[in-house]
């Protein structure tokens, strides 16, 4: 065997045997986080802004436009007007926003009986807005099935939580097993271990299926050798991470509206048409009968 081959074997062995463990990784990341918090120098910040601008619009154009705008202001209004640009002059929007805040404060101070009646139309507008169903596609959710991490923001919480997903290949113990894999989902001290012994891919993503509750959902989709998949939903409420629901769907793609409805395909026909709706709140599945909704989902 040549030295070249020996060196390549050595490299493989090193790669296989040296381990950068999850603990080491997290320890390092904490230190990196501390380093990241140290404020960037002013010129670094300046270059970052330039870089961003340059990507969207060529820098020369930005400078030329700015110079021309400045020249026009000087010529039309005089040098004093430049001061106005750099001073914080509230725009119409910000003025109205300020007013609203002040009004809110006032209304808080006032007794409940004195609440202005004029505000009612605003609530009507809001309900009209709510009627429009916003449908999200699971394809847009990032997949962490091969490991990775994501920051989770719970509704109504200012604190961010980090979900860490680690993947571990398991040994085949039975002939029927296919690429068995073990996934660790970890948030703070909460950990869920998920095993798939017969998989053609495992997807892990984060979504909020029901905006009205204060939980965030972490879902796992386990694909099998045929098109039938199993979806496992875990809920995280800031303290505990627990399994909430489980359902069978055809293909790993589905849609949801963040109001408690998960739309998916489940039928023996090969039309791949979304025909079922899983009610997240009641955990009951039903056929989608509304043709308008069905049309919207299958566009």
């Amino acid at each position: 065997m040549s030295l070249d081959n020996d060196l390549r074997n050595w490299a493989e062995e090193v790669d296989y045997n040296l381990k950068f463990t999850v603990e080491m990784s997290e320890r390092c990341w904490r230190k990196i986080g501390e380093g990241m918090k140290e404020d960037r120098k002013w010129y670094e910040k300046f270059f970052i802004v330039l870089n961003r601008m340059n990507r969207k619009v060529p820098f020369k154009i930005v400078v030329t436009v700015a110079a021309v705008a400045l020249a026009i202001i000087i010529l039309s209004k005089g040098v004093n007007s430049i001061k106005d640009i750099f001073y914080k002059t509230p725009t119409n929007q910000s003025i109205s926003a300020d007013k609203e805040v002040k009004d809110e404060k006032k209304s808080e101070e006032k007794p409940v009986d004195e609440e202005p009646v004029k505000e009612e139309p605003k609530t009507e507008e809001k309900t009209e807005e709510k009627k429009e169903l916003v449908i999200k596609n699971s394809i847009d959710n990032e997949d962490y099935g091969n490991g990775g991490s994501v920051d989770i923001q719970l509704p109504g919480h200012s604190e961010k939580y980090r979900l860490l997903v680690t993947k571990e290949d398991m040994k085949i113990q039975q002939a029927y097993q296919n690429r068995p894999v073990r996934l660790y989902l970890k948030i703070n001290s909460e950990e869920v271990i998920f095993e798939s012994i017969f998989n053609d891919g495992v997807f892990v993503s984060v979504a909020d299926f029901d905006k009205t509750d204060n939980d965030i959902d972490i879902y796992i989709i386990e694909t099998t050798t045929n098109i039938l998949c199993r979806m496992y939903i875990y809920k995280f409420n800031g303290t505990s991470l627990q399994k909430y629901a489980e359902l069978e769907i055809y293909s790993h793609k589905f849609k949801y509206d963040e109001e408690g409805n998960i739309y998916y395909w489940y039928s023996s026909s090969d039309t791949m048409e979304i025909n079922k709706c899983f009610n997240y709140k009641t955990k009951v599945s039903s056929e989608i009968t509304d043709p308008k909704l069905k049309n919207q989902l299958n566009q």
């Binding site: 060196l7 050595w10 270059f47």
Partner: protein, 190 residues
């Protein structure tokens, strides 16, 4: 696909997206740690290098003009940090050959004899690589372990491709020579 993803992550990291930066870190942390470990043979030191490298990357990533250059740039920082570490801790770094094999697992699928032979050969090679000078060792690690091209190594080390080739040649000759001397000492030629 992978390239595009990394490009996306780099762009987001430049904009200060911590999540994207964490993903970049997750993608490269293992390789950086292992490269640093092979250079220093010090687990704690290698961990420190990983931290320093990624803090530098976070702070200087805005300077990166082409996403394709990211990997070379990352290894350049790693090698520079390792060299700094050598300079600072020249007395503290102890080449502990046994230490490395404490974290080596044995390959369970190999036959016992075969396994022993492979293990012994790898241990011998490892000792020889570790006893090389810093420059030669760096070339061997980047070429064989990191699978880099001569051009990439030349870019990282800031020297010509010819220099990298000659260093690799010298390193291999030195390893061969040392292995042969050991075999003669053990009486393998008799």
């Amino acid at each position: 696909m992978e390239k595009k993803l990394i490009e996306k992550l780099i762009k987001k990291s430049i904009d200060g997206d911590e999540r994207a930066f964490r993903e970049l870190y997750d993608k490269y942390k293992g390789k950086i740690f292992k490269t640093a470990y092979l250079m220093l043979r010090d687990e704690k030191g290698a961990e420190d290098i990983v931290q320093e490298v990624f803090i530098t990357v976070y702070k200087k990533i805005y300077k990166l003009k082409y996403a394709e250059a990211f990997e070379s740039w990352l290894y350049k920082i790693t090698i520079n940090r390792c060299n700094e570490y050598f300079r600072k801790n020249s007395k503290a770094v102890v080449t502990d050959e046994e230490d490395m094999y404490q974290i080596y697992d044995t390959d369970i699928y190999a036959q016992p004899d075969e396994r022993l032979l492979t293990e012994e050969r790898n241990q011998q090679l490892d000792r020889k690589i570790n006893s090389l000078s810093e420059k030669l060792k760096t070339c061997i690690i980047l070429f064989y372990y990191n699978n880099m091209t001569i051009k990439q190594i030349a870019d990282i080390l800031g020297c010509s491709e010819g220099t990298v080739k000659s260093r690799l040649f010298k390193a291999k000759r030195a390893i061969e020579k040392k292995l042969n001397t050991e075999l003669v000492k053990e009486g393998a030629y008799i």
